[in-house]
């Protein structure tokens, strides 16, 4: 193992710190969905079938069955894949960092990143307020039209993706925007119940 500049670094260790040897394993006994890795689509996804197997989604994923727990796969009302991420200027829900004026100055509001192609199709201009809606809720965000996102071609279809940071919501700042948890489905991975907030389905339109 080496330092970034290439010199040896005896202090460091391999990244899978929960395994004694520090490496990933292909055979993982003891997991609810093991022992071999398998590709499943997200609980909400843009395709009707899994191109790798007959099983579309993880059969042991944790889902809930209240009225709010509806999952929209290949629904024409929610055709766009959505992901959530962080920015380095805010931390987690932003409940501490949004009260730091210098940090808030650099990342003041909820935004939604989208490709030029999607923005063009929807008539959305960069910096404009747009509405993002899922089967679970809707919120307003500032459109950031960027070259860093581009449409995917998935199973012969053009699929668009948008992404939002999840640091905003509640009382401060007044114009900061809502929590992205409003959009995300309640579903959990089979072992730890970590919710599936990184891939779900939405629609976007001009506010």
């Amino acid at each position: 193992m080496r330092h970034p500049d290439g010199t040896p670094n005896p202090e460091t260790r391999y990244p899978f710190i929960m395994n004694p040897e520090g490496h990933a394993r292909i055979f993982g006994p003891g997991r609810a969905d093991g022992p071999f890795p398998e590709h499943y689509e997200a609980i909400e996804c843009p395709v009707g079938g899994n191109p790798f197997s007959a099983q579309l989604t993880n059969p042991v994923a944790v889902t809930y069955d209240t009225q709010m727990d509806i999952y929209k796969t290949s629904d024409p009302r929610y055709p766009i894949v959505c992901t959530t991420f962080r920015v380095c200027e805010q931390w987690q829900t932003g409940v501490m960092t949004r009260w730091q004026p210098w940090l808030l100055e650099t990342e003041p509001q909820l935004f939604v990143e989208m490709s030029k192609e999607l923005a063009g199709m929807k008539g959305i201009k960069n910096g404009e307020k747009v509405m993002v809606e899922s089967a679970h809720g809707k919120l307003e965000a500032v459109a950031v039209v960027t070259l860093r996102l581009s449409p995917f071609k998935i199973c012969g279809h053009i699929i668009h993706q948008v992404g939002l940071p999840w640091h905003y919501g509640w009382v401060h700042p007044k114009d900061g925007g809502d929590s992205v948890n409003i959009l995300t489905p309640s579903s959990g991975d089979p072992n730890t119940r970590i919710p599936e907030t990184k891939a779900f389905m939405v629609n976007v339109k001009k506010a």
């Binding site: 380095c88 200027e89 940090l103 100055e105 650099t106 003041p108 910096g127 500032v142 950031v144 114009d175």
Partner: protein, 248 residues
Amino acid sequence: MSSGKAFLIDTTLCTACRGCQIACKQWNQLPATKTINWGSMQNPKDLSYDTYKLVRFQEHNGPENKPVWYFFSDQCRHCLEPSCKEAVDGEVSDGILIDHQTGAVLFTDKLEAMGPDDVLNVCPFDIPKAQEKTGFLAKCTMCVDRVHNGLLPACVKTCPTGAMNFGDLDKMVKMGNGRLAEAKTRFPGATLTGLEDLRVFYLLADVPKMYYTYAEADLPPARMDRKTALKIIGKSIREFTGNLDSFG
């Protein structure tokens, strides 16, 4: 070659974490300005009386249609022959000083005796900014207070990637040329700007205009009003004839 200090800003190592931007506000105790997301991560939108350091963001379609995201950590270049000082000298004595130890270009309180326009119009990098209410001017100080006490400027101290560097001018020139040679293996169009006449050298992976309009000196006359241009020309003629006299 002139002595004193210099910055080397290696944009090829910058991740736009904006630590420099915030460390600058912290050391100088500058307030946050009210911002909105305007369709860019660049915020505040521009330098101001309360913002001396700003990371500018630019997106382009790069080679093979892959996007490139350029980050430009903007600040006063501390010119060896600052046009702001030329514009002020003769109007207000000691309005702008050059610190003899570091070469930092410093605005003083005496500058408040004159309007901001003469200074605003001559800077080829669009750096100084006036306070809206008072017209008082402010910009990067090179953290001379820190440097005189053996510390690095706040922006350099906080940089986690090695993009911001500071030291003796000759050492920075040497480091810049070394980094340029290295960068050229990855970015054939890499350039190093400011070596001849500035104390801030930018190592850029692409042509300067791809980063920011004023990444490189925009010729002053494009942004200068007639009065200021004539004054500067007048001054250099006076200096020239003065030099002739001394030969006489």
